[in-house]
Amino acid sequence: MEILIFLAIVAAVVIVELIYYRKHAMENLDLDINVSKPVASYGETIEVIEVVQNNKRTRLPFLLLKFEAPTAIDFLDKTNTSVSDLQYREDMLTMKPFSRHTRKIKALCRKRGYYTFPRVTILSTDLLFIEKFSREYKNDAQLTILPRLIPPEEIMTLLSVTFSEIQRRRTLLTDPFSLSGIREYEPWDPMRSVNWTASAKTGELMVNVNASTSTRKVTIFLNLEHYTQRKSTILLEKAISLAYSYICELSLEGVPARVFTNGIDTVTGAPSVSEDSSLDPFVSGTDLARIDLTHDAISFPELVESNIGSTSADDFVVVISPRTDAITQKQLIDLKSKRPSLLWVIPSFKGNPLPDIDSGLMSSVFNWEVSGHD
């Protein structure tokens, strides 16, 4: 009799435990998956942070957290990570009553882009591991990986050309509203430049020295149309990296730059355009990072037509375009007529001969050779 009672009690306890966990196991659980930095540089090690908080008295034997991560990040700990089009990771966490378990997994950023961690599923069981309970959570974590930075020595020639052009333009033009100093009057100075106050103080005629033009801006047109029939993206990626590295180097020298591209922004679905010339390469970097090369870019002539009006005639215009077909060249000739300082940078693989370039553009072409092949 006692044994039967015992068995009945055991069964009752198991059933009660199961019913209780069915109802309450997934209650009051806070879940968050995030990254240590929303914007990371290429090659940087970041942390993917999983936080699960149990806000109830019920103890969970464990919590299995499953989430999808982009393949662009390379987990340093690859245990339980299966890779296909995405990385599917499973992590087992402890869930005591009123406790928080934070797990930080280091990951290497190895591809430019804008990524999200949209879906997270948690799975747990009752204390006796009889039944599994799961729930799917929406997650809004985002990660932007900036384009790869090209070492300065690889773009030294391009930078030299740019700085010399800016320097040349600096000596030709002066800005009447910017004052760089005061000096003694020389016979060829116009009378309007005499600083009368300074002259009165010193007893000699003194003139204002204007600074060179403050519109030493660089405008970059980045053409991301496919350059081969096979729609290869290697040179397009290199072009994006070049644009970003170029902006970074310019900002170090105090030259504001702005980039227009016909690449489609992953988030907005429109061509990526930096709002204004800036000395902060971060803004342009995040814009460039979000370009989705799987979408066809809008045509380059359309990009130029719609944005040329927002550039100044004094801007130093750099076009980065791996595509060298006749339509592009025709558009560039047209652009050169409006902006004579145009420089066309053609990213190409080492050893590949340059295509036929129109004679009107020959003086403006800069061939930037990169290693590798399609």
Binding site: I5, R59, T79, N80, T94, R103, K104
Partner: protein
């Protein structure tokens, strides 16, 4: 290259429990066989349990890292040794008794060898369930045989074996389930804290099961029950005593027999079987509850001296874990006073609060900073009729409409 270990410890407890289950079944089968022999009452259950020594030795043999070819000879060698031991201890009982003991040992040796050569399936854990089901079925059949044969003593022993088998299976399952079902994670991830939690569950199960069994056997439940019934009767008598007094005053039975005149069988106010069952269940449940509360209190007391934050991975490791306690919301249900206003405003605010709170409990990502518009976007996926409620709430919150 990984270094080979001399002895395989992994899953040894579960394996031992399963061996014991098989052993218990084998001795009950032996008991059935003994019913047909003159040794019927010569071999006691307690003496049969000495065979556990063989079970332990066989377990050790198959867990030692030795070549496969030596396993069978090693088992046979031990059986010879065991035979000599039996001769030494049971010399006076005769050859038949020794043979009976030896048969059980041989059965367990065969079981041990088969476990060793099916090691791959054993590792998967399914074999535990299969073995458990087979042994339980065999023991139930034995119970039926003993019932037909009129052997209540053996029925009781078999039932006890069934209980022990269930307990052992429950414990071994709890010990191995993590390794069996989540081996791909458990073997590679830092899950020490998960295992520790599981161990606490195992300890709780073990103590609860054995304590309840022991208490059920030891406790004089019938006496306790009688005492409880007597106490309730006394209490009712005390409560209803004025009525009895009134009754005594106005009505005195003349023809009814007095207590002394009643036959003894009519005098039995003892508990019925149903009450007996319910009371025993209640007693056991109370004991279990007390034990669990006691266990939790002790654990909390120990926990007070522990660090609040526990970091499980060293610096520089690709994975680091931080486990920390969060503050408990100690506000009681009754102390939460929300001002929902009055009249229609009260209804709308309260309904809105209840709906959103329920959704948050269900996992909706509503933050403290979420605006009603954001909450509406989150909720519309799960709550179809949330739109009108949200409109009404916004009207109240932003004072678009005046309510009483």
């Amino acid at each position: 290259m990984t270094k080979k270990t001399f002895f395989f410890y992994q899953g040894i407890i579960a394996e031992f429990f399963m061996s014991v289950t098989f052993f218990l079944t084998s001795i009950m089968v032996e008991n059935l066989a003994l019913c047909y022999t003159p040794l019927n009452n010569l071999i006691t259950y307690k003496s049969q349990l000495t065979g556990l020594v063989a079970v332990v030795i066989f377990l050790i043999i198959r867990r030692i890292n030795i070549p496969k070819s030596i396993i069978i000879p090693a088992h046979i060698l031990f059986l010879f040794l065991y035979c000599f031991l039996l001769k030494y201890f049971h010399a006076s009982d005769g050859k038949l008794v020794i043979g009976a003991f030896l048969l059980v040992a041989i059965a367990n040796a065969i079981f041990s060898i088969s476990r060793f050569f099916n090691a791959s399936s054993v590792k998967k854990g399914h074999s535990y369930l299969e073995l458990f089901v087979i042994t339980i079925v065999i023991q139930i059949l034995l119970c039926v045989f003993f019932l037909i044969g009129g052997r209540p003593d053996l029925i009781r022993l078999t039932a006890l074996n069934i209980v022990i088998s269930i307990c052992l299976y429950a414990i071994s399952r709890q010990l191995t389930v993590l390794d069996d079902q989540y081996s791909h994670i458990v073997r590679v991830q830092p899950v020490r804290s998960v295992k520790r939690q599981n161990l606490i569950t195992v300890v709780t199960i073990v103590f609860t099961l054995f304590l309840s069994v022991v208490l059920m056997i030891i406790l004089p439940s019938k006496k306790i029950l009688t005492a409880i019934v007597y106490a309730i009767g006394m209490f009712l008598r005390f409560i209803l005593s004025p009525l009895f007094k009134m009754k005594d005053d106005y009505y005195t039975p003349i023809d009814e027999p007095t207590m002394e005149e009643l036959p003894e069988e009519e005098f039995d106010y003892g508990p019925t079987p149903v009450i007996d069952l319910l009371a025993t269940i209640a007693i056991v449940l109370i004991i279990i509850a007390i034990f669990i509360i006691f266990f939790l209190k002790i654990r909390n007391l120990i926990g007070n001296f522990r660090r609040e934050e526990y970091i499980s991975s060293p610096d520089g490791s690709p994975v680091s874990d931080i486990i920390e306690s969060v503050k408990k919301d100690r506000k009681s249900f009754f102390s939460r006073q929300y001002d929902f206003g009055h009249g229609e405003e009260y209804k709308v605010r309260k309904k809105y609060f209840k709906t959103v709170t329920k959704a948050i409990k269900g996992g909706a990502p509503v933050k403290d900073s979420s605006s009603p518009n954001e909450i509406r976007e989150i909720m519309e996926g799960s709550e179809k009729h949330f739109g009108p409620l949200s409109d009404a709430y916004e009207d109240i919150r932003y004072n678009r409409k005046k309510y009483d």
